[in-house]
């Protein structure tokens, strides 16, 4: 009997070891659940986090360093003053439902996205397309109305994913794509499961056999879920104050990186008192970035002085453009006719970084004589009251799209309420300029212009704070786009 139980124990141990060594599944935690699974129907970042790159593919993709990389298009050429793009597609690309991908499929997808009745969240990216030609099954020629240095980045977005015409309408609940993973299951409110595609053109690409994305909305619940081993990876953990605990636990690795999310204290340039540049500069002289970053991001955010990500080589440090100087701020306010201070509203949306930084910044502004009324709003309210009706003085929100400096040319219809002819001219040049050195110079001038005009009071770059199982490799440190590159992930012993 003893022999039996010993051998049984050994057998069990061996099975357990084998199972452990062969780990090829992963459970990834995320805060928000996608409402639908189709990025051409809904702008929710959670859709891209799960499906872009993994299931759906676009012509191009954005790499970890933020540059444009080939995806469905293996190569491309740009001709005729940057107005004609010729993309080459690989042979033998099939969708999960067995349909073949050809140049016609690409044309169909883009025609659909730019159609007059299209409800694609990135519809504006397709307005610049004049014509699409498909000389053969592996070539797509796109003619633009005007040259655009951002066109290749736009083509990388989830909204520009290539769909199969037969399954496109059902992608909201049963995604069909060409990527290295295919959709398996969606248990609403709980999880989405993907598994390795058997029909992908490069079968060696993915190592993880099955990936489960589990939704844990509550920041306080994310920590025990990791500690209990229910979740292997949480790329954007909500409670940053708990990271020290994971750092000292050998079962985990903590990866801190940057995102494309600039977080300014946004000022309404088209409404009193911030229609006056002196008042905006006064705010800039008051804010103390260090204490905001410590309080709102547990010290992990990087300070910024303009609208540009600090991890990018073209970044210029403008954080000392307005040194902290309360007396100077009061003087500016007096000049602007607000010697007795000003009553201002601050409407932060329900994100931890926004609510926390709003409270700290409000306390700082009071020192200079601003009477700040914090009115927390939920996201739907923010979109309606702040974004659409522009009924606000100050707000805080991260701007997560890459190359979104063109927001400063969107005029008085946009919620910034900022309009400036010099800025419009700079941006126009930057968009059509194909020479990289000249573009760098133009983006430098744009950064300075935004800071000089004190459009907003820039605070910090949103950090990416991830907790992962110690044996996981292939993790993206920075996240220039909201995707999870499953094909790059692997387990080590």
């Amino acid at each position: 009997m003893r022999v039996f139980s010993t051998s049984l124990a050994v057998a069990l141990l061996m099975t357990a070891t084998a199972a452990f060594a062969a780990k090829d599944t992963i459970v990834i935690g995320m805060q928000d659940e996608p409402p639908v699974l189709d990025p051409t129907q809904n702008a929710a970042a959670a859709i891209d986090v799960i499906f872009s790159v993994n299931v759906y593919e676009s012509l191009t993709r954005i790499g970890e360093d933020g540059t444009v990389k080939p995806s469905l298009a293996t190569s491309w050429t740009i001709g005729e003053d940057g107005k004609v793009y010729t993309f080459k597609l690989p042979k033998g690309v099939v969708f999960d439902n067995g349909e073949k991908l050809t140049a016609e499929t690409v044309k169909w997808s883009f025609d659909r996205a730019g159609a007059p009745n299209s409800t694609n969240p990135t519809k504006r990216h397709f307005g610049n397309i004049a014509r699409i030609d498909t000389p053969d099954a592996e070539t797509v020629i796109i003619r633009l109305k005007a040259p655009s240095s951002l066109f290749l980045s736009y083509m990388a977005s989830g909204g520009a994913a290539i769909f199969d015409p037969k399954s496109a309408d059902n992608n909201k609940s049963t995604p069909v794509g060409t990527g290295p993973y295919k959709f398996k299951q969606w248990v609403k409110g709980d999880r989405v499961v993907l598994e390795k595609s058997t029909t992908h053109r490069d079968p060696s690409k993915a190592q993880i056999r099955q990936a489960t994305f589990k939704f844990v909305p509550d920041a306080a619940a994310q920590v025990p879920a990791l500690l209990a081993g229910d979740i292997d990876a949480f790329p954007t953990i909500g409670a940053t104050e708990t990271l020290d605990r994971f750092k000292s636990d050998s079962r985990f690795q903590v990866v801190i990186g940057s995102t494309e999310g600039e977080v300014p204290l946004i000022l309404n340039n088209n409404k009193k008192p911030f229609d006056d540049i002196r008042m905006r500069r006064a705010v800039n002289h008051v804010i103390d970035r260090k204490s905001i970053i410590d309080g709102a991001t547990s010290g992990y955010g990087l300070p910024i002085g303009s609208h540009f990500p600090p991890h990018h080589p073209w970044y210029i440090d403008l954080t000392n453009r307005y040194p902290r100087d309360i007396a100077k701020a009061k003087e500016l306010m007096k000049e602007a006719g607000y010697a007795n201070g000003a009553d201002v509203s601050l409407k932060p949306p329900p994100f931890a970084y926004a609510r926390r930084s709003a409270e700290i910044v409000a306390a700082q502004l009071m020192e200079a004589g601003f009477r700040v009324k914090i009115e927390p709003v939920e996201w739907a309210q923010w979109l309606d009251v702040v974004y659409k009706q522009k009924n606000y003085d100050m707000t805080v929100v991260a701007h997560v799209s890459p190359w979104d400096q063109d927001n400063y040319t969107r005029g008085l219809d946009y919620y910034y309420g900022y309009q400036n002819a010099e800025m419009d001219a700079l941006m126009k040049q930057a968009l059509v300029e194909s020479d990289e050195t000249k573009r760098k110079d133009l983006y430098g001038r744009i950064q300075r212009k935004i800071a000089d005009d004190a459009v907003h009071a820039f605070m910090f770059q949103l950090p990416r704070t991830g907790v992962y199982a110690a044996k996981l490799r292939g993790i993206w440190k920075n996240s220039p786009v909201s995707v999870t590159d499953l094909a790059g992930l692997r387990w080590v012993d």
């Binding site: 969240p121 609403k188 409110g189 209990a228 309210q381």
Partner: protein, 344 residues
């Protein structure tokens, strides 16, 4: 409430207490009028609720189409989506279309998920309903045991212990208690999952995911109900028939469970009815802490995403649920106290 002369008759004690029986009203007329009255209340409640929830959601800021397409969306894409969702129609028309659908049993299509609302609610009910039933069962068992125990040990250590414990139970917020439970049973001991729900297709193992949430929900309710039970039992213990029961030779325990408990149940059942109706407010929080895909989560998500049709449908459904629970409580009164059957 003094006991009726009937309970003084000596023989009454030798027979077992009457068992629950179907309600006998004084004739069919009374029964029909009662049922009709109930039905009228039911319909009126639903219409009033539907109007209130519709008006509240009308004035609530937030555009579902803008929420779905995000801040980079082109205005004409948002307008096209509004038209597709039927949000550009006048309010009266939208209300009537919604009501007409309800009458036909068609709850409509969710804006955000794009699937039938009935299906969405169905998927969530299979989590929330078992959770609520387990929580309510736990509440009842814990509360009745503690309440009767405390009353029987009135003014002793046992009584004080229960009173202190229940006071604590009322004071502790359930979401905080939930996190403590997770830290102990999921993180430290590893007996139960920290959250999530694998689905019933995984078999009875799915029940494990409901244990901690059910306890978290039951704690506060059980604390309140135990105190109510204790007071009710103490009240009845002072009645003369209890002394009679003891005098004819029943032990303390026999008296307590056979005569006293049943006579104290009216206030207990009233509170239980209220608690069962309120349980959903609790699940909104608890389902978020344990990330369970239940009805509470659905409401929370739908309000945030301005999935107005889902919010409206679920609110009306909940109103219907409260009316039905009140009706069941009324029926239970008659089962518990046969005298109430003829007092209509």
């Amino acid at each position: 409430m003094s006991p009726s002369p009937a309970s003084w008759r000596g023989r009454e004690y030798e027979r077992p207490l009457p068992r629950a029986q179907p309600i006998r009203y004084n004739g069919a007329v009374l029964m029909t009028s009662f049922a009709l009255r109930r039905l009228a209340t039911f319909i009126a409640t639903l219409i009033a609720t539907s109007l209130v929830v519709f008006l509240v959601l009308e004035v609530l800021p937030g555009d579902p189409a803008l929420l779905m397409l995000g801040i980079d969306a082109q205005p004409d894409a948002v307008a096209a989506l509004r038209a597709k969702l039927g949000l550009d129609k006048p309010a009266v028309e939208r209300y009537l279309v919604w009501m007409a659908g309800m009458v036909r049993g068609d709850l409509g299509i969710s804006h955000t998920y794009g699937t039938s609302v009935a299906e969405l609610i169905g998927e969530r009910l299979v989590v929330t309903l078992p959770l609520a039933l387990i929580a309510m069962t736990l509440t009842t068992i814990i509360a009745l045991t503690l309440g009767v125990f405390a009353a029987s040990k009135h003014n002793t250590i046992g009584d004080y212990g229960v009173m202190t414990a229940t006071q604590l139970g009322i004071a502790i917020p359930n979401f905080w208690f939930a996190i403590l439970l997770v830290l102990l049973f999921a993180v430290a001991l590893g007996w139960l999952p920290a959250g999530g729900f694998p689905g019933w297709d995984q078999g009875p193992i799915a029940l494990k995911s409901l244990v901690l949430p059910a306890f978290a929900l039951a704690l506060v309710q059980a604390a309140i109900l135990a105190r109510v039970t204790r007071s009710a039992v103490l009240e009845v213990l002072r009645e003369d028939f209890v002394r009679t029961a003891r005098a004819k030779g029943l032990t303390r325990t026999q008296t307590l469970w056979r005569h006293v408990l049943r006579n104290s149940l009216i206030p207990v059942v009233t509170i239980m009815g209220l608690q069962f109706s309120n349980l959903l407010a609790g699940t909104i929080i608890i389902e978020n802490v344990f990330y369970l895909p239940g009805l509470g989560r659905l409401i929370f998500q739908s309000i945030n995403q301005r999935d107005l049709i889902v919010v409206k449908d679920v609110v009306v459904l909940l109103a219907a649920k409260v009316v039905v629970i009140n009706f069941i409580v009324d029926l239970l009164y008659a089962v518990i106290d046969p005298r109430l059957r003829t007092q209509r």
